[in-house]
């Protein structure tokens, strides 16, 4: 090859073999970078289509919308749908599991709960409701890795859900 003659005359330490290998590595890395971005668009690295999940029966008295994948300290929302069966005497009592509470910061609860009490199994939020409602919990996860959450109605059904938190 003609550039080999140049190697003799020019003292530059070129290395055609290495150059070719690094181009190959570069092309492979481009593909990997593309896959990373694709995964992110699909929601495998944070909120997105494949990240949205639900727990519970949509026609039942309680079901939950959440993100399977979220990131360290980034905002995410748990949307809790309460059916007519969840309300007694115009009140709904929602219990958050203690373990999960230790790994989140609760930023805001809409609508505002009437009262919150700390019990043995976690925090109990009491809402005054006249009919089926959706309650949003804006939270941030402050632990990295897989997390299991529990949310339910006091003395009734409990939903368990899992989230993965990226650093």
């Amino acid at each position: 090859m003609s550039s080999l003659q140049g190697e003799k005359k020019l003292e530059i330490g070129n290395d055609p073999d290495f150059q070719r290998r690094s181009w190959t590595a570069q092309k492979i890395s481009w593909v990997l970078l593309g896959l990373l971005l694709l995964a992110a668009l699909l929601g495998l690295l944070g909120p997105g289509p494949l990240s949205s999940a639900t727990a519970g029966n949509k026609n039942g008295s309680l079901w939950l919308e959440y993100d399977r994948f979220t990131r360290y300290l980034s905002p995410t929302t748990l949307r809790l749908h309460l059916g007519a069966g969840a309300i007694s005497d115009g009140k709904a009592r929602v219990v958050f599991g203690k373990d999960y509470l230790e790994s989140i910061q609760v930023e805001r609860v809409t609508p505002n709960p009437d009262s919150t009490e700390t019990g043995l199994e976690g925090i109990v939020y009491t809402f005054q409701l006249s009919g089926p409602a959706t309650i949003s919990f804006d939270i941030r996860l402050e632990k990295v890795g897989p997390q299991t959450g529990q949310v339910g109605l006091a003395k009734a059904e409990t939903l368990t859900f899992s989230q993965f938190v990226y650093p």
Binding site: S2, S3, Q5, G6, E7, L10, I12, G13, N14, D15, P16, F18, Q19, S22, W23, A25, Q26, S29, W30, L33, L73
Partner: protein
């Protein structure tokens, strides 16, 4: 602990991403490249600082970055192989006035770029006045003219 880890991860990621982007990316900075650099630095900053705006954190992040840079430069000096992997190798792209097209297209360098460097550095007018053009490790093109 957090600050040091954050800075290390960001440093290594940037090292890899600019290496795989290829040397043309930073070699000849166009106006848009410059803007891109600014945006990248902005996005990087958030990840490195997090929500800790203390001076201690800033000192730790800067310290980590500089320490990594020193460590890597020492390591590169001792290991020519690592040096190659991180910095790449120079490459002859024009020989005796003949552009080596295959290499140039793979390195994303045009004949126009070579001629620009030839004018800039040596005041040359035509491709056939160039003995060698070398794409250097830092992405610039150096020119060796034919003896008159």
């Amino acid at each position: 602990m957090d600050s040091v880890l954050r800075a290390t991860v960001v440093y290594l990621f940037l090292l890899i991403i600019f290496r795989i982007a290829g040397r043309r990316t930073l070699g000849q900075i166009t106006t848009f490249d410059f803007v891109l650099l600014l945006i990248i630095s902005e996005a990087t900053q958030q990840a490195m600082i997090g929500e800790d705006f203390s001076i201690t954190n800033a000192i730790l992040v800067i310290g980590t970055l500089v320490a990594l840079d020193i460590a890597l430069s020492i390591w590169k000096q001792r290991s020519p192989k690592l040096d190659k992997v991180l910095e790449g190798v120079p490459m002859i792209i024009v020989e005796n006035g003949r552009p080596i097209k295959e290499l140039m297209s793979r390195a994303r360098v045009g004949e126009e770029d070579v001629l620009t460097s030839a004018r800039e550095l040596q005041g040359l007018e035509r491709m056939d006045q160039i003995k060698y053009a070398v794409l250097e490790r830092n992405g610039s093109i150096t020119i060796i003219p034919k003896q008159a």
